[in-house]
């Protein structure tokens, strides 16, 4: 079975190659078949391999397949090797399965775009890069996928390239993530010199032997890797690119937010968990970054008008939950939330895309309204996605996964009441902004006429994703009811179990609080945006509230800050030195030389009189000197 492994990334890559080289000569139908078909095929292969993996687990706990040696210099010999264990399996499943649904949806969504082939080529490459990232057995190959993901996000965010704003957003995404990537590359150097290899299983095996618990070199390595993760996963302080990444077509957002790109950081930390475990400082940093980000992004989501920006901030916030869980050592909870989030976030983006398209590319939620009965399929699927995001108790997948994280924020060994409170507040805000988005978009009176209705290609993926958004949570139930641990059993092959504090048994209470908080958030939005909208109007009168609103709306002023301290000084220096100050030195030499020879060349006038005069004057001077001496 494991010799089919290479096909999983190879199929999307083949799709990319065909579409990139010959896409313009193929019919649109064929383009869609190749684009969506390649990813779907790779999803099917992934599922077959996955079933095989689950039914007859390999004795080593993983499948590996080496294709060739990439580089061999001295003892540095990274190979093109794919490595599939339980953790990669979950990621591969999510990437290919959700990726395939997004591709199928796109075949309908992008039907009228003239750059159909270019779109699918980039999407295929995106899926390919992400698959390389999660299947790589060494960090260099992982880095290839890592950078490839960055490239594809650049290409797709700037897909509609005529508008310079889109180009700006695309470059912003690439450059900001590259800052993290560079730090990560340095982290790779550190790891290589510590362990003499970049092969992930080897590093993880050697790390506890070479480094003692809390070694400062472990902290350095972990923090450098974290910098990479923070960039790709849009966490503080490198989160500013993601809200602008909305410039791309909506399926791209779905792909970036759900199946690829932003989850790369979560994968990296989970994959390298042994390194992080050796450094309590780095672990805490991960948790703190996650907590801070989930709160900051949550408040920003509360103030957005653009439906896609609400979703973008909600992604940052939800990834913040995953980082929090990783930092707490709740490894499987983080991955579980990654999976459920992938389902409902893909669903929300695709449904939002359908709404936006139906309303003539209107992004502003406050110009939508009253779509409940007009777009029933979209309404119901969007409702399910929202419920899952808001963690509506008992029936949604989002509840089960988020509940785990909240519980561990309190009960895990390095959990604290403060982290728990932040996570709880975050859950409250999440419920509030989700309900706000839902109410404003689908209830109330209709403000924009519907232009066209989504076809089957678009609605079927929505229905499938809605199904998973509800039921994916049931594979992992809390131990006090149901006690089903299918998911964590699988992952515990790779990831360690979470260590709990001694003497915490009242999980019921925490679940109850979490449930109340979610419902409370929804109720708040219901009061402000449905029942008594005058309260919002009243709030808008107050100046401090509006200032705060503006501050949150602009993403807490990070863009402005970075512009002031990084972008402008560098651009300024670059521009004043446009003509290269070093060259002035050489021009100076030329200048002096010219000044010196000009007077001399003036004497060489070609006129005989001058020469005779010169000779006579010279002779006189010489005689005079002789006489005087």
């Amino acid at each position: 079975m494991n010799n089919l492994l290479w096909l999983i990334p190879a199929l999307p890559f083949a799709g990319f190659l065909i579409l990139a080289l010959a896409g313009n000569r193929l019919s649109r139908a064929l383009v869609a078949v190749i684009g969506a078909g390649s990813v779907s095929l790779s999803a099917i292969i992934a599922i077959i391999i996955g079933i095989n993996f689950l039914t007859s687990p390999p004795t080593t706990g993983n499948y590996t397949q080496t294709l060739w040696t990439w580089i061999e210099v001295a003892d540095f010999n990274p190979k093109i090797t794919f490595f599939l264990d339980a953790l990669s399996l979950v990621f591969v499943f999510v990437i290919t399965f959700i990726g395939a649904l997004i591709h199928i949806y796109s075949a309908g969504f992008m039907a009228k775009d003239k750059d159909y082939a270019r779109f699918f080529a980039c999407m295929n490459l995106f899926v390919f890069s992400m698959l390389i990232l999660v299947l790589a057995d060494n960090l260099l190959l992982l880095y290839l996928g890592w950078e490839g993901v960055g490239l594809c996000s650049y290409l797709l965010i700037g897909f509609w390239y005529k508008n310079p704003d889109n180009g700006y957003a695309a470059r912003k995404a690439f450059i900001i993530t590259r800052i993290g990537d560079t730090a990560m590359a340095i982290g790779l150097f550190v790891l290589f010199y510590q362990f003499g290899t970049l092969v992930i299983p080897d590093i993880l095996a050697k790390a506890p032997q070479v480094w003692h618990q809390g070694a400062s070199i472990a902290t350095i390595a972990a923090l450098l890797l974290l910098a990479g993760a923070v960039g790709k996963s849009a966490q503080l302080p490198l989160q500013t690119w993601l809200p602008d990444a909305m410039a791309g077509p909506t399926p791209v957002s779905a792909l970036i937010h759900a199946a690829t790109m932003v989850t790369a950081g979560v994968y990296l930390i989970a994959r390298m968990h042994d390194i992080f475990q050796l450094s309590p400082i780095a672990q805490t940093t991960v948790a703190v970054i996650g907590a801070a980000t989930l709160l900051i992004a949550g408040f920003s989501a509360l103030t957005q008008y653009d439906i896609k920006r609400v979703l973008a901030y909600s992604t940052i916030s939800q990834i913040g939950y995953m980082f929090l869980a990783l930092g707490l050592g709740a490894w499987t909870a983080a991955i579980f939330h990654f999976m459920t989030h992938a389902f409902f976030k893909a669903l929300l983006f695709l449904a939002a895309g359908a709404v936006i398209e139906a309303l003539h590319h209107e992004h502003n939620m406050f110009k939508m309204g009253g779509l409940k009965n007009k777009l029933p399929v979209i309404f119901w699927t969007f409702l399910i996605g929202s419920a899952s995001l808001a963690a509506l108790p008992l029936i949604t997948a989002g509840f089960y996964s988020k509940d785990h994280i909240l519980w561990y924020a309190w009960a895990a060994e390095n959990g604290t009441p403060l982290l728990w409170l932040i996570a709880l507040l975050g859950a409250f805000i999440t419920a509030a902004y989700t309900a706000r988005m839902m109410i404003v978009t689908f209830w109330g009176e209709s403000k924009t006429e519907i232009g066209h209705y989504p076809g089957k290609l678009m609605t079927v993926p929505l229905l499938i994703l809605a199904f998973f958004s509800l039921f994916a949570g049931f594979i992992e139930l809390p131990h006090n009811f149901g006690h089903l641990t299918l998911f964590s059993n699988l992952l515990h092959q790779v990831l360690p179990e979470t260590v709990l504090k001694a003497g915490t048994h009242s999980e019921w209470l925490f679940q109850l609080i979490a449930a109340i908080v979610s419902v409370g958030g929804i109720y708040l939005a219901y009061i402000f945006y449905y029942k008594q909208p005058f309260r919002i109007e009243k709030l808008k009168q107050s100046k401090p509230v509006m200032n705060l609103h503006l501050f949150w709306f602009s993403g807490w002023g990070f863009d402005k800050l970075y512009n002031t301290i990084f972008v402008r000084p560098i651009v300024f220096i670059a521009n004043i030195n446009k003509n290269d100050v070093v060259d002035k030195l050489y021009q100076g030499i030329t200048f002096v030389t010219i000044r010196l020879y000009r007077p001399l060349s003036f004497t060489q006038s070609g006129s005989l009189r001058w020469y005779v005069m010169g000779m006579i004057v010279g002779a006189i001077i010489i005689f005079a000197i002789q006489i005087m001496l």
Partner: protein, 513 residues
């Protein structure tokens, strides 16, 4: 003998092109193409026959020696190891592309043009093979003069200024090298009684540390001006931007590499001790070059100048890598020489193609070209990505190995150099944005690639991707040279340490007593 043939063929081809070009322009083009193709195939087959090059006890694959002026110990001595072989393959490969991309661009004095082109390439190949310092200097000058004509005659508006500048910079620095060569010649002669320019015999010359440093600086100045390294880079943007497309291609792809080659072949092995002392400073100016070139590149509006400054930045990596003196970094340097030649060459060719169509190099007058030229856009994107070091393309392997290697030697400088990766993303994406994306600035139709252009860019794309996913043939070929260089430095390093340690041992001994 093959080495003599290569140079002979090139020179004869040049003369033929000059003579026959008088009455038939197309004939000159075909002669140039066939000449280079013959050389390329010859070296390529040689490589394939000798693959994987490693394993031979003797690092020299071919060694040809014939007395030239025996009275002064000058011989016609050519030799080739893996490094020379790689660079020769690159030279002829880019040479072919240079002929192809001048096919339509050059219509004036075609015969003389191809004569110059072939003689430059003959000079460059000579530089890569000469094992007699006098002969080396001869070839070093040989590539200079036809290049001067190439820029001065077929360049654009400001060509005369650029040609002078190029000539003076390289000539002045070359003279210092000549002095250093003569110095070494006489010192070796006085020491041993044998007056010779032979590289192999000069290798072990015993020099006082002071003399060694000065002689080394004489060599280094010529090489770093060619490379170029800040602050000796300022001829490059002018020469690049004014030269015809093929001229820029050869400058960026090959001429700069002669500097790097010179350092590795001559400056380091001849003066290992001095090189070790100089290393931290050399690495420092390498890093300064990386950042300085990148920042300058960002502010340029002339496409060719922009690309020229990216070269300055990329050559900083070479300097950093060479003076890190370790296997990883040196392999990275060899890779960087090849991949930079290909990727920057490709960008210059593309700039030439754009100029042919738009009659401008100003990127503010471009924009939105993707709509009409998706093929060129795609290829442009590929090489912009190569230039910013995207994994999967050759440049990544090069820069990663250099950084990985130098990290072992100097962490701080490596971290600063790694910032270059961020800057390279900024300027590379700026090229793509300004040229291909954004709203269309021009309303007229611009035609996409012709078949000839697809052939050129296709070959370049294939090679950059090939080097990115399977760089092993290059690494294997360069291995004997790198190992050799490493051996020199590890022994020198040990000797230095011993000298440093001796007094402290004595002191300890004395203290104990």
């Amino acid at each position: 003998m093959i080495l003599v043939w290569l140079i002979g063929i090139l020179m004869t081809g040049g003369v033929l092109a000059l003579l026959l070009g008088q009455w038939n322009k197309t004939m000159a083009r075909w002669i140039a193409l066939f000449t280079l193709l013959a050389c390329f195939l010859a070296t390529l087959f040689f490589w394939i026959n000798h693959y994987p090059v490693t394993g031979a006890t003797d690092t020299w694959l071919v060694n040809y020696r014939q007395d030239w002026i025996p009275a002064f110990g000058i011989s016609f001595h050519l030799a080739m190891d893996g490094l020379s072989l790689l660079l020769l393959v690159l030279t002829f490969f880019l040479g072919i592309l240079a002929v192809l991309c001048s096919w339509k661009e050059v219509t004036d004095r075609v015969g003389f043009y191809y004569f110059n082109l072939l003689w430059i390439i003959a000079g460059i190949s000579g530089v890569f093979m000469a094992m007699d310092l006098f002969l080396f200097y001869f070839f070093w000058e040989l590539m200079l003069i036809p290049m001067y004509f190439l820029i001065g005659i077929w360049g654009s508006e400001n060509r005369v200024y650029a040609a002078y500048k190029f000539f003076i910079f390289t000539q002045a620095s070359g003279l210092l090298m000549l002095l250093a060569i003569l110095g070494l010649y006489f010192i070796h002669g006085q020491n041993t009684g044998v007056y010779t320019f032979n590289y192999f015999e000069l290798l072990g010359t015993v020099l006082s540390p002071g003399t060694a440093l000065w002689l080394m600086l004489g060599f280094m100045i010529a090489f770093v001006v060619k490379l170029p390294i800040v602050p000796f880079h300022s001829w490059l943007p002018d020469a690049h931007s004014e030269a015809p497309t093929a001229g820029s291609l050869i400058l960026a792809g090959l001429l700069l590499k002669t500097g790097a080659y010179g350092i590795m072949r001559f400056a380091l092995p001849l003066f290992p001790q001095a090189a070790l002392e100089l290393a931290p400073w050399a690495m420092l100016i390498g890093v300064v070059g990386i950042i300085y070139g990148a920042v300058l590149s960002y502010s340029q509006t002339d496409l060719k100048r922009l690309i020229a400054y990216t070269s300055v930045s990329h050559m900083g990596f070479i300097m950093l890598g060479i003076f890190a003196f370790n296997e990883l970094a040196l392999h990275g340097v060899v890779m960087q020489m090849l991949t930079h030649g290909i990727s920057t060459g490709a960008l210059f060719i593309m700039a030439g193609m754009l100029k042919e169509r738009l009659h401008t190099r100003d990127i503010n007058q471009m924009g939105g070209l993707w709509t009409n030229m998706p093929k060129m856009g795609g290829i442009g994107l590929l090489f912009a990505m190569a230039s910013l070091g995207l994994p999967g393309l050759g440049n990544f392997i090069a820069e990663f190995l250099i950084l990985l290697g130098s990290f072992q030697v100097n962490i701080l400088l490596t971290v600063i150099a790694a910032l270059g990766l961020i800057f390279s993303a900024i300027y590379s994406l700026r090229i793509v944005q300004k040229v291909f994306l954004g709203p269309s600035v021009r309303s007229d139709q611009v035609r996409d690639f012709s078949w000839r252009e697809i052939l050129i860019m296709g070959m370049l794309s294939l090679s950059i991707v090939g080097l990115g996913v399977y760089p092993q043939p290059v690494i294997n070929a360069a291995k004997p040279m790198v190992d050799n260089l490493q051996k020199i430095f590890s022994t020198t390093h040990k000797n230095t340490q011993k000298e440093n340690l001796t007094p402290s041992y004595t002191q300890k001994y004395l203290i104990k007593k």
